[in-house]
Symmetry: D2
Subunit: 410 residues, 4 copies
């Protein structure tokens, strides 16, 4: 038997030469450059702090951290998905981490889409400046009148007229539309096709006549601005060249699905990063806040148990996400679909529980915007909703589990 | 046996003549007058909507709903605590309910204090205009440098100098200080006394020299303004007459404790009202939002189970709070102390779980400020912290339970 | 206003003359007579301890506690439902409480059925000896091949042949069949009627030819015996007079529903009694078990918080059940149907959480049968399943909630 | 960058040649040989089925699965800890798996102890027949009068008298003492030493005069017998040679700690195996049980969500345990101590939640002993207690987390 099973050490991603060191540099960048900007970010407007952020972006470039997820041929660092996963956790420790390294949503997803399915012209015009950080973009899919959990249920239409699409529709949660150079709009191009083959993704420059940003939707207390906002949009007889369509006509959903696999790794590892930061903040506060002279909060058994419970949940979730990243890397996002759904709802739940405990440990301070905890508590409540609510993902997992037993879930 | 136990119907508070009808009128007031103001409130500044709110206050007065908790002799409606509890739930269905009927915190607590312990002069000068709604007030106790869970740990001092107190200190979470005519400030007057006998409560007019409102503390995304804010305050050599002290010197904590009994009934029933509204919103959304044509969200088993779970938790919590209100009414807040702690942490937990589910049912809409759910989700996270964090109340309950067994908890 | 709402004290059931004293006597009976029998019960066979139990039954009679829920005209004490609810909690503190006072399931339900729908002959022959304790009975409804959550799904048939029903079928969870003088068997008499009108309830003496008790089903580690058992039964060409049918032909489900309203109050309050005992045991163990010399377990913050959490849940659940008992008393079980479902799943959940914590507090001792905690942990896991699983009751509640909004749940 | 970080695939233990295949063979052994024995095991006595089990043990030997965790030099298969972890999960799918392959507790721990610290004589006399399966052993540490969570709190003493130890004491939870050839007894040999250096581990042949097995303690409804039992023991003037001591005098706790690292991997992976089996049973029942004709239980959204939630928790926990096994393998149990505590409480919690849901899916069937679910629900409630209760492990984790911040937890 011992001959049959040689002792081979289980390798983990961080064992590889270079990766651990790169992740350390990301952590150092966050600590040295971004944490000092956090207070300003939490108290004010994103647009007002653009000069600070531009400086941070120059610094990330100087430190060799720019566009880590973009392949080298397109101007990035070309990390693999499991590698980038570790980076995303490191950057996630600050709300500004991904932006500072130009791997923030929705731009990172839009870049992926253009890299995989864009024409040369589209890449030259839209991808290159995205990668360089010269412009930003938005993604315009969800409609207020329809349940986001059923994305084929959509009213925005793009009707061919000569070599143009004429787009009409009403969208919201168009992330980062405020200040974006262009939007990728999901619109029905083939109303008579099967539900999943009706829509296409079309590039719409923001300054096209008929494009109206109605408002930045106030969510959880803040309308936000610039990148840090979600817009309600109206498209009224918006005319763009058919050449602005990405991929085949009717391929909109297929492309949307495709982007979600890696995209969910990015999010989940970002949430792991948030959890780690929350634990750091808990530990620091528990050791500094005195309940009475000489008696720090961290002596309390209940606080200790919360720390241990958070640690267990976060470590287990991290491994689950990394395992999924490896599955996608090895077998593709389609094969790993059940794992992707698994991590999406599971990690979002862990995140919410960790933040809740971190706030309770901080007491009154926890509900102020003097730490990033309240920001995350508010903003990441959406983690259980965006990119598919928990309920949709649980249904997906169950479907895959029950299939061999002859049951069709949902 | 049947002779021994005559069939007597268990009476509940709402069986009494007049109460049920009064509560109905409160609900109607909320539905007709306040819900239409909600959107403005959720999107903008409190101060900007003061004209609207003044109109609502006039209407509440006209409908005979003004100051329900204040005894008739001081100009209110004189409801008992169990009666007012039902009213607080009805008004709690809107974030503006208590303000519109002049029973909002912290004013209602300050009124109670002045009614119970104020001198005739203090009542004439401060209580009367509070009851009439001519002025507002603040309550200034918590200090950023000390754990709120141990209120005897405090640095603000009030030193006698002739017939004046000279106050120096640093406070935060001074609720509604922005625009308040006066603040009740907790300060150490007897530094050498036993911990619970060191501090006094002192009336400080807001325009006294040395009183600085440093900022409205941004909490959960909003600094807020006017009544809807929590200020950081500095008191630097603030001089006020000794006659501004409420009650005995050193009685500050005793008075603070006293206010918390009924105050927690007010809060808990307000939370019950929020839960009821959240359930209403869930039911409405679940019946209107279509997942596909003809198939409303409410058909989903998981949504149905959430509704049932919320219902059970809210109904049970309501009865627990009403039972506690009756205990206080019958035996006094001191006797009912364990019950008060019980409802404080239990109801706050129910509230958080109900709001969380209500948001999940609403999907993307739930995280916008287009419904009050996100507002409550953010603001009422503090319910598990203010007026004593969960952990303090659980400790109190355990202490009372273990006492007969000879154990001193904590 | 004060004129409109006179101060009327909220009355509770225990305020009534006689009830509180009667409940005290029940508690004393449990403490003095039953707790000393517990160890024998937990370690051995029910049948072997029958002499002890007969003595306990004589004592309960002597103390005037016999058959509290049976109307005086049928030989009981005639408590109302809210009154009996309090008694059920007191007796529930011991696993032997209800048996000792002859109000144990399934006999108490069978008595109710015979009182409400039995003929004079049926009452003379079966009800009288049940009330006197001379015989026991079983209830035979659930079938192993069908989901208990859908009771109209059933295969046992009763075919008329002259003045006889010939019954064939396979049942399990026929509670207390071992030693029962008769069984009430649910069987399809009208296969062509609407689903809910197909079955009838028929009295089958246990010694009728063709009745086979296949086994006492081993559940959670114990097959049990006598009253403390659940049998698998076969009915093969079992012939009984048509006069043995209770109520109308086809009324089986309607009668089954009817019995469940009060029956669930009995169960829920019994569970509340179990919870109270579990809390007593926790308090005692936490005060006696030393972690190190001079340091009892009860000093641990986590144990304290569990105690407080249990207390809050149990107190709130008790009020919810009592409120439901009052609703049934005032308006009938049908009107109170949603409340009945609410308490069924909610109280069962509270029970499970309390027992789990009580066991954890007891450590190794908690998993032994040296306390009743492990017995309840095992046996009452079924509380979330019998008399309708949680899921069915949640669906019922949701259906009632959604109905005014035009949605049909499930 | 791409040069710096070459794409190296993250390896997992199951990628190695031979391991995956070996684990498959374990699974096949369980399916083919052990599952058919399960019903007998669940319904009756362990001793009565010994012939069946002996056959199963011969089969496991024949299939090359015997003693997988024992090094080749001592007659086993010599798997590494990460490798054995996978095997433990496979065998854990049946309650008989570990016994059938001779890697059951407490023997496996006793073997480890003798391998690491036994003298040649001890190994010849006790280890060899344990490995061959000729005898069984017990482990006697916990005392009923003291809290298991504080193991230095102990009264059993071993006093030197010539070349003998004379042992007196009272123990319980002496696992598998019924039928064991010898017991390893923890007793105080150095009462005046520091608390952790007072006790020694001593081999006591079961037939030594003065050794009394008082009873097999009835736990969760079953006293059990033979291997499947936990005894209460009395040691009265039990005299054994000093040469029976394992390791140094006073090293008892150090050795006990040592055994717990790998021992907890064994348990945790066994629990993962139980979870997998529970999920298999859920899937099978959900697909076969019809709620109405044509509508299997698995169509219910709530059942689907439970499946997904279980899957996520189990997959994440499995990775956490495997990661910990690797840590122990790479750095030793001492270095991995925090990870060991993390998996102990976390996996035990996952296990309990999964079993609870599996039972609920099975309804009435779930509480019978017709499936192994009820057995595990009962027996593995102890998982949160034995080998250190949750609370002790959470405290350990917190201590490690807080240490760098200067706080001493607990």
């Amino acid at each position: 038997m011992t001959a049959v099973i040689p002792m081979v050490k289980m390798r983990r991603a961080t064992d590889r030469p270079g990766v651990a060191e790169f992740v350390s540099r990301c952590n150092a960048f966050v600590d040295e450059v971004l944490l000092p900007l956090e207070r300003t970010f939490l108290q004010g407007s994103f647009r007002a702090m653009k000069p600070d952020l531009d400086r941070a972006r120059r610094e990330s470039r100087a430190r060799g951290l720019w566009a880590p997820w973009v392949p080298a041929e397109h101007g990035g660092l070309g990390l693999t998905l499991p590698e980038y996963a570790l980076v995303s956790a490191a950057l996630g420790r600050s709300p500004l981490g991904h932006y500072a390294c130009n791997c923030q949503a929705p731009d990172v997803g839009n870049m992926e889409l253009l890299m995989s399915h864009g024409t040369d012209d589209q890449r030259a015009r839209w991808l290159a400046p995205l990668v360089s950080g010269a412009i930003r973009s938005g993604f315009s899919m969800t409609e207020p009148e329809f349940a986001g959990s059923n994305p084929v249920h959509m009213e925005t239409s793009a009707v061919r007229k000569g070599d143009q699409y004429v787009i009409n529709g009403h969208k919201w949660f168009t992330s980062s539309a405020d200040g974006a150079a262009f939007l990728i709009v999901m619109a029905v191009t083939n109303p008579d096709a099967k539900p999943h083959q009706r829509a296409s993704q079309i590039i719409v420059p923001s300054d096209t006549p008929g494009v109206t940003r109605v408002r930045n939707v106030k969510t959880m207390g803040e309308a936000g601005d610039d990148w840090a906002s979600h817009a309600e949009m109206r498209y009224e007889n918006v005319s763009v060249p058919i050449a602005n369509r990405i991929g085949d006509e009717g391929a909109g959903f297929a492309l949307a699905q495709e982007r979600l696999g890696p995209g969910r790794i990015h999010h989940c590892m970002r949430w792991i990063g948030i959890c780690e930061r929350a634990i750091e903040l808990m530990l620091r506060h528990a050791s500094r806040r005195l309940l009475s002279p000489g008696h720090p909060l961290g002596e309390k058994q209940v606080v200790q148990h919360w720390l241990a419970e958070c640690k267990a949940e976060v470590e287990a979730a991290r491994l689950l996400v990394l395992h999924c990243a490896q599955q996608i890397h090895d077998h593709g996002a389609k094969e790993a679909r059940m794992h992707v759904s698994l991590i999406k709802f599971h990690t979002a739940g862990v995140l919410q529980r960790v933040l809740d405990k971190a706030i309770q440990v901080h007491g009154g301070l926890g509900i102020t915007d003097d730490t990033p905890l309240a920001y995350w508590f508010r903003h990441e409540r959406a983690a259980r909703i965006y990119d598919g609510p928990d309920e949709v993902h649980k249904g997906q997992v169950a479907r895959a589990m029950l299939k061999p037993y002859g049951i069709k879930a949902e």
